[in-house]
Subunit: 337 residues, 2 copies
């Protein structure tokens, strides 16, 4: 089976279980509340559909790692979707914190309803994640469930750490590239690493294998974020100047921008002057290219992807799911959105 | 031992464990983040001290129920403080949602720092709660820990349901007293009921006893909220007209107010006209008395307290901790803040 075939098999199971868990709120008094969650998840409301649900990379990763350990991936579904719910809880709160109007082209929850309700929607997604994970107990001993919860919650605390750092770094010009790595290690890599680790714990009894999957997930997560940062400046949407589609306009703490600031050249001078306007993004992106930010960032993404692939090779899963993991890793580096 | 002696014994254990858990964020890069949490918990910053930490009613209830089952209450501390952390997570988010500047006389987290950070502070308190509860595994089998997590997370989902209802009821004048009970059942009683249930599960093997503790907690929680509503209008602070100390000024969905609105008399007429100003609260509170809202609310608080006491009598815990529970129940009804 190829990655595409695995995805076609796993995605429906992921969506079905996500919907079943979120349906806890589908009661007479809380119908609109339920609708806020299903809207955010991409299932209902304007523009709903598979193209706006997000790629579900995190749950797919859990299930593929589980399958690569020669274990029945169906048993890992509660953990997979619990992590996806956490990711979505953080997105709902993130959109408020970043003052973002749009997510995947659709109005964000806080813009569509209001901030107070959106905080509560995020909280509910987190609670449902905590409830969903307990379904693992149907197929695994209590101690394993507790171990999984611990791994996931540790990643969640890192998420809040990363979020904190991202917010305090805002509008500061003394942030180093090292600060960046610390931030995305928490904000992005921790949860993706947890995906691979959870798949490993559920699928394998070998602590060394689990440790390697954890490492693989970390590098994959870092590579994923760095690639995101590249797309945030040189991706199609960013360059064609759709308002705020560029990290330059958003003033994000992204790797090329921090690299540029630390070069203390033309980019840094322009950056410290005033916020970047949409019709300037093409020119300023070009300055960043000249100052080496694009190359530096591309190299970082490649290096991290190669590290992830090397770790996978050491684990050496010998089935199709293992090959699909290699494919997934390469695909995430070459993605265009 | 009396309730006071139990409290003097248990509170230091509760505070110490809360501090130990929150210290997860006490690291170089996240020192200010840690400080935001310790400020909210009442341990640091302006006005910090035991008088502003809150009464820690929820963890005390867990530990007293555990003790009343003749079990070692120390083993229940992780569950007790996990629930207290959940309560505090909901307070931090609540203050943002209600646009409240003050909590226990101190500037709220979102006012002191900002809204984005405060959302993250609430999230972190919830994560730490999820981590703290796992320490139960040191003294209880995995399946018991999972059962406890389920009870607590179910209560958390109710919390978000209650919060949703509270927000959609705002500024509506068609809310019945029945709607009120549904709302506070979720918003207040669910978590207090979970406290008693958790103490029961950890302390007793008898399902009937556990069920009765759950019921006791529910009635106690409802009584607690109704008493809060009384104080919100006729308590000292509310009546002396400290700005926004009165639920009348805040426009809260409280029982006397909803009772008054549904009487469709003088109060309802005044209420629908415009927001209540601080210098009107004494007069309008008097109108509510005339229309029977105070008596109705007092009777409700008494009835619920008596139901809780009757349930306790059925459980019939035969030790000092059982007597302390009776004392606590009566004290919560007669409290003045």
């Amino acid at each position: 089976m190829s990655l595409t075939e695995y995805t076609e098999l796993m995605l429906p199971a992921i969506e079905a279980e996500l919907q079943r868990q979120v349906a806890r709120l589908d009661q007479k008094e809380t119908r609109l509340f339920h609708q806020m969650l299903t809207y955010h998840m991409g299932w209902t409301g304007e523009g709903a559909g598979p193209e706006v649900t997000g790629k579900r990379v995190r749950p797919l990763l859990v299930l593929l790692v589980m399958a690569s350990c020669m274990s029945n991936w169906l048993h890992a579904v509660p953990a997979a979707i619990a992590i996806e719910l956490i990711h979505n809880f953080s997105l709902v709160h993130d959109d408020i914190q970043d003052n973002s109007d749009k997510r995947r082209g659709r109005t964000t929850v806080w813009k569509k309803w209001n901030m107070a309700q959106a905080i509560n929607v995020g909280d509910a997604l987190f609670v449902i994640s905590n409830q969903a994970i307990l379904d693992l107990a149907g197929n695994f001993p209590g101690d394993t469930v507790i171990r999984i919860v611990r791994v996931i919650q540790d990643a969640c605390l890192d998420l809040t750490r990363g979020q904190y750092l991202d917010m305090v770094y805002e509008n500061r010009e003394d942030i180093s590239v090292q600060d960046y790595w610390k931030m995305i290690e928490c904000k992005t890599a921790a949860l993706i690493s947890a995906c691979a680790q959870v798949g490993g714990i559920l699928g394998s009894r070998d602590d060394e294998t689990i440790e390697q999957y954890c490492l693989f997930g970390r590098d994959l997560g870092l590579a994923f974020q760095v690639q995101d940062d590249l797309l945030g400046i040189w991706g199609d949407e960013a360059l064609t100047g759709k308002s705020a589609a560029s990290d330059l306009v958003d003033g994000k703490n992204s790797l090329p921008i921090l690299f540029g600031i630390n070069q203390r050249g033309e980019f840094a001078k322009r950056w410290s002057l005033s916020p970047v306007l949409p019709d300037e993004v093409a020119d300023i992106a070009q300055i960043l290219v000249h100052e080496g930010a694009q190359e530096y960032t591309e190299r970082a993404a490649e290096r991290l992807t190669n590290q992830a692939l090397a770790t996978l090779e050491r684990i050496n899963p010998k089935n199709d799911a293992g090959k699909a993991l290699v494919e997934l890793t390469k695909k995430l580096l070459n993605r265009e959105s």
